[in-house]
């Protein structure tokens, strides 16, 4: 019995089917992202939760809907493929010099998939915007909204408690969770989280789905625009209540990524703020933007170069670095990429700012190593096949 299971799991049949399934998923996801946006499409096709064990592709050919049967979710197909690859491509595979290349190639692919897993689970990314002549030592996450509770003393932030996005993003309507804040004289209750919403005045518009009204406002999901907006532009929002240790609950209030000011609260003569914002990520060094250049091909609007000249300073000293397209700065496990700049349409002499994408990825260079392994493996295999073909006897016969 076990032997049979092993045979199936390590077999060519499973390899073929999972590869084809993965191809189909990729194809459908490619077509679907045009209408639905990249982020939601990826979440649908490659989500890691059991709710996405099957996905139903939406296929439109020339605007007409074509029904497609459900397919297994991408994450699970990849998991099966990885098992198949290890069992079939490493353990069961025929050994010997003729098959050595295959073994190496399979090993390289496993290494690459491992890299993808490490990147998926352990990498962090955000962005840092710096104006010319100014410095920054924090990056902001692209997607993750957090709730930040802080005490303000004499106009300065004294103590911060951050509630991470993963702890609140499952609190859709009806669900609530209490967060204990041991360093503060109160706890916080959060409910009704929406990934992309704005507060709307109840006097301007009545709630259409019986939403909770807090202080004259309620949260409304943003309408879906014709061209899907990138997920970086989402503004999350939720409802919250203060739970002082010695008294009852405060009235509910709204925390929204789209609002400009935090909610402030006074208790026992102390002032606190509660805010919803993209997560800030402190860097181990400070970056100063000395000069930014956006060059265009002469007489056109076609960019030829984006160059940021920066100074990186840390306790140990300073270094001058140039960050440009295709040439990021890699330092202390962090990588800084030239991502964007502004202000748009700036005239000559205007003060520019530069935006860096900041990534911490322990598997940053793994694809490079695995590529070398895979390429060498495949090369050996195919060369052996080619040589055996060329040395086969009947080749020389001429024929038409």
């Amino acid at each position: 019995m076990l032997g049979k299971i092993f045979d199936v799991l390590s077999g060519f049949g499973l390899a073929t089917i999972t590869l084809i399934l993965l191809g189909l998923l990729t194809w459908f996801a490619t077509l679907e992202q045009v209408d639905n946006g990249l982020y939601p499409t990826l979440n649908k096709y490659f989500a890691t939760d059991w709710g996405h064990i099957f996905v139903l592709p939406e296929l439109y050919i020339n605007g007409k809907y074509v029904p497609v049967p459900p397919l297994p979710g991408g994450y699970f197909v990849c998991a099966v493929l990885l098992v198949n690859l290890i069992l079939g491509g490493i353990i069961r595979i025929r050994k010997g010099w003729n098959h050595f290349g295959n073994l190496v190639a399979h090993f390289g692919i496993i290494f690459m998939l491992l890299g993808a897993g490490v990147t998926y689970h352990f990498s962090e990314r955000g962005n840092m915007a710096v104006s010319e002549g100014e410095s920054s030592n924090v990056a902001e996450d692209y997607f993750e909204y957090v709730v930040e509770v802080a005490e303000i003393k004499e106009g300065k932030v004294e103590q911060i408690h951050v509630i991470r996005g993963k702890d609140i993003d499952d609190l859709a309507a009806g669900n609530l969770r209490t967060f204990r804040l041991p360093d503060f004289p109160f706890d916080l209750e959060i409910s009704g989280y929406l990934p992309n919403a704005v507060p709307v005045s109840a006097t301007e518009r009545a709630p259409d789905q019986g939403q909770l009204i807090a202080d004259g406002y309620f949260l409304m999901e943003k309408p879906k625009p014709a061209k899907p907006e990138p997920a970086e532009q989402y503004t999350a929002a939720c409802y919250a209540r203060i739970l002082p240790r010695d008294a009852g609950k405060s009235a509910p209030f709204i925390l929204a990524g789209a609002s400009f000011h935090p909610f402030s609260y006074r208790i026992q003569d102390r002032t606190f703020t509660v805010d919803m914002r993209k997560r800030l990520w402190p860097m181990p060094f400070t970056l100063t933007l000395n000069h930014f250049t956006a060059a265009f091909h002469a007489g056109t609007m076609r960019p030829s170069k984006f160059v940021s000249e920066v100074t990186r300073s840390e306790s140990g000293g300073e270094a001058k670095v140039t960050i440009q397209m295709n040439e990021p700065m890699r330092y202390e496990g962090l990588t800084f990429f030239q991502a964007s700049y502004g202000p748009p349409g700036a005239g000559p002499g205007e003060k520019m700012y530069s935006v860096f994408e900041v990534v911490r990825n322990p598997a940053d260079q793994w694809p490079k190593y695995s590529l070398i392994i895979v390429a060498v493996g495949m090369f050996i295999t195919f060369m052996i096949k080619l040589v055996s073909f060329l040395t086969a006897g009947s080749r020389k016969q001429r024929h038409v």
């Binding site: 191809g23 996801a29 490619t30 045009v34 990249l38 007489g299 990021p328 096949k385 073909f389 060329l390």
Partner: protein, 660 residues
């Protein structure tokens, strides 16, 4: 029996192939035929070849680089006229073929003749009906003078259609907007030398009631400091500006505006300044509106005036003036290091390399068909050598221009969609010749020129449809010769290998359907092995290329994989070829299955190479084109081939069953 059917099959195959070739010829002829009746243009005389040779090498700044006037004219002509040549009859009724440089020279220097040339290609006459112009055939060519009566309506309608969101407009609205842009652009070329032809009117200069005198713009530019001084004095005294001076200044500003766009041909004096000047910029600089040095601006305008005016007298005289102008501009461009590859580029277009390659490929395709049909024997051997020689010549005629393009562009051969087509055209032929060398069965040799022919036709079609200079510089993210070499070339070679494996399998299915090798199992085995080899090569190149692309993306955007459509397309090729190889190892597909799968590879490669560009999303935003219909035809052909294969397989099974 099988021998007989094989012979019949051979002739059927040859017939089918000839039909295909005839379709190709028809396509080419239709492409190059003038649409509608050839116009006779009174007073038209063709330019002297020597004059055109000089004009070709005038440097122009356009699309972010310095290029010869002939290249500039070629792509302008493609975008307006839809072809690189135009046929008319001159004043005496003699047919004249106008080249891009001739057309450009007419437009700039002989606008009164140029407005009668059938410059504008209109694909749907409804566009002209909408602006109240009398029309001919649905698809026809019109002159500026034909369309001019509807000019106002054209601009008005284009403005109103532009307010409609892109994608929601109907094709006629899109074409009308395009025509309005083309029309305005053409006007900027027609009126470019207007300042030189008319000069300015010196109001009140006519003596004794005679007409006012005229002066050259360059002469007025010389007096600008004095004019300024006089204006400053009158303004200081609180007096209104003198009416004559005001009129003069207005005319100068008009002249500057009329020659502001069109062609940018004047190198700046400052070696650090990258942006060149148009005649309009030079005129404007005299009144302080541009950065060119006033002395140089006056010198330039004087030179342009002299040249433009000489055309009315005698072409020999004009040529002398044009040569002086060209030499002056070239000398300055050379001093700036901007003229390095202009001569090479002029030569590149003059040689028409790909058209010549096409001729050799077509010749080789015909001899290959004859070679296959006649089989072994002396005639077959002779045809083999002719096919080989013609194919190799065609290949060389493809490689030389690709190398020339690299030198001109100072980058590796592939950076845009057009580059991929010619690169694939060359490599598919090269791969086929390598297979021929390995197998010596003459099948790959014949396939080489046929595929070469098809791909070069595709390149020509694409160039016409796109009508953008395909040697213009690349955007910042692609501006990396290292990555362009290792990632882009690998992945493009992967496309070439994938397409070749699909075509080989198509030929396999065709020959099997026609029972050509019923008595030659060996031949079939070679076909299958060649396809298997190409699938392996496709996998190797696509996989290495895709991962290299990921590594590049990791260096430029900070992520290895972004699910961008172009990346996904490449991944699809990898996954598909991997599943073919695994299915084969598992015994799920055998000979037939391998060929079916390889034919389908053609569809996967097409999706990756072309289709994702139409999705209009993602970061690889180069080469979005509009002719999506052709893609569906191609997918249809692949489906038809697969269906044909299935029927052949069923028939064969049936036959074998009866035999046993």
């Amino acid at each position: 029996m099988s021998n007989n059917s094989s012979k019949v099959g051979r002739w059927i195959a040859a017939g089918l192939a000839l039909l295909g070739l005839a379709a190709v010829f028809y396509n080419l002829v239709i492409d190059n035929m003038p649409k509608g009746e050839i116009r006779q243009i009174a007073n038209y005389t063709a330019w002297n070849k020597e004059t055109l040779k000089i004009a070709e090498t005038i440097p122009v700044q356009d699309g972010g680089r310095i290029k010869p006037l002939s290249t500039f004219g070629g792509f302008k002509m493609l975008s307006l006229h839809g072809a690189r040549s135009m046929e008319i009859k001159d004043g005496s009724g003699k047919p004249v073929k106008i080249t891009p440089i001739g057309w450009m020279m007419d437009t700039l220097f002989r606008p009164l003749l140029a407005i009668k040339l059938p410059t504008f290609r209109i694909d749907n006459s409804a566009v002209l009906e909408a602006i109240g112009v009398t029309v001919g055939n649905k698809r026809d060519r019109y002159s500026y003078a034909d369309i001019e009566p509807g000019r106002e309506k054209l601009i008005e309608l284009a403005k109103s259609y532009e307010a409609i969101e892109k994608g929601k407009r109907d094709p006629v609205q899109d074409q009308l907007i395009a025509l309005a842009y083309n029309f305005r652009e053409y006007e900027s070329l027609l009126g470019y030398f207007g300042f030189a032809r008319t000069g300015v009117e010196l109001r009140g200069s006519g003596k004794n009631g005679g007409p006012d005198q005229r002066a050259d713009i360059s002469a007025v530019m010389l007096t600008v400091p004095q004019i300024r001084e006089s204006v400053a004095q009158t303004t200081a005294q609180g007096l209104p500006m003198d009416a004559h001076i005001q009129s003069l200044m207005e005319q100068v500003i008009d002249a500057a505006n009329n020659a502001k766009f069109g062609i940018i041909i004047l190198p700046p004096a400052d070696p650090e300044e990258k942006i060149w000047f148009s005649a309009g910029n030079a005129i404007a600089s005299s009144i302080g509106a541009a950065k060119q040095s006033p002395q140089l601006a006056i010198h330039d305008i004087k030179m342009l005036e002299t040249t433009a005016r000489a055309v009315e007298e005698d072409e020999g005289d004009f040529r002398t003036k044009l040569t002086t102008l060209r030499d002056d501009l070239v000398k300055r461009a050379e001093a700036r290091g901007d003229y390095k590859h202009i001569a090479l580029e002029v030569d590149f277009y003059r040689m028409n390399w790909f058209l010549n390659a096409l001729a050799f490929y077509i010749l080789a395709s015909i001899t290959a068909l004859a070679m296959w049909t006649l089989g072994a024997g002396t005639a077959g051997r002779v045809l083999f050598w002719i096919t080989l020689a013609a194919t190799v010549t065609g290949l060389v005629l493809c490689i030389v221009p690709i190398v020339q393009r690299c030198i001109i562009m100072q980058r590796p051969p592939v950076g845009n969609l057009y580059d991929t087509i010619i690169f694939i055209a060359a490599n598919v032929v090269l791969f086929s010749l390598i297979i021929e060398w390995m197998t010596r069965r003459r099948f790959a040799l014949g396939i080489a020129p046929i595929l070469g022919t098809l791909l070069i036709i595709l390149a020509r079609r694409f160039e016409v449809g796109d009508a953008n200079d395909n040697m213009d510089p690349l955007v910042a993210v692609l501006n990396s010769n290292y990555w362009l070499t290792i990632h882009v070339l690998t992945i493009t070679l992967g496309y070439a290998a994938g397409l070749l494996s699909a075509f080989l399998s198509f030929i396999y299915l065709l020959t099997r359907g026609l029972r050509l090798f019923d008595d030659d199992r060996d031949m079939r085995r070679f076909f299958t092995r060649a396809v298997y080899g190409m699938v392996c090569l496709t996998l190797f190149l696509a996989l290495v290329g895709t991962v290299l692309g990921g590594i590049w993306a990791n260096d430029s955007w900070g992520r290895f994989w972004g699910w961008d459509p172009k990346e996904n397309g490449a991944l699809l090729i990898v996954l598909w070829t991997l599943s073919i190889l695994h299915a084969r190892l598992g015994g799920y597909i055998k000979e037939w299955g391998l060929h079916f799968a390889a034919v389908f590879t053609g569809a996967v490669v097409t999706f990756s190479w072309w289709h994702v560009n139409f999705l209009n999303t993602g970061l690889h935003s180069y080469g979005f084109t509009t002719q999506k219909g052709t893609l569906w035809i191609f997918y249809g052909v692949i489906l038809a081939i697969l269906l044909f294969g299935v029927i052949v397989q069923a028939l064969e099974k049936n036959r074998l069953g009866r035999k046993s």
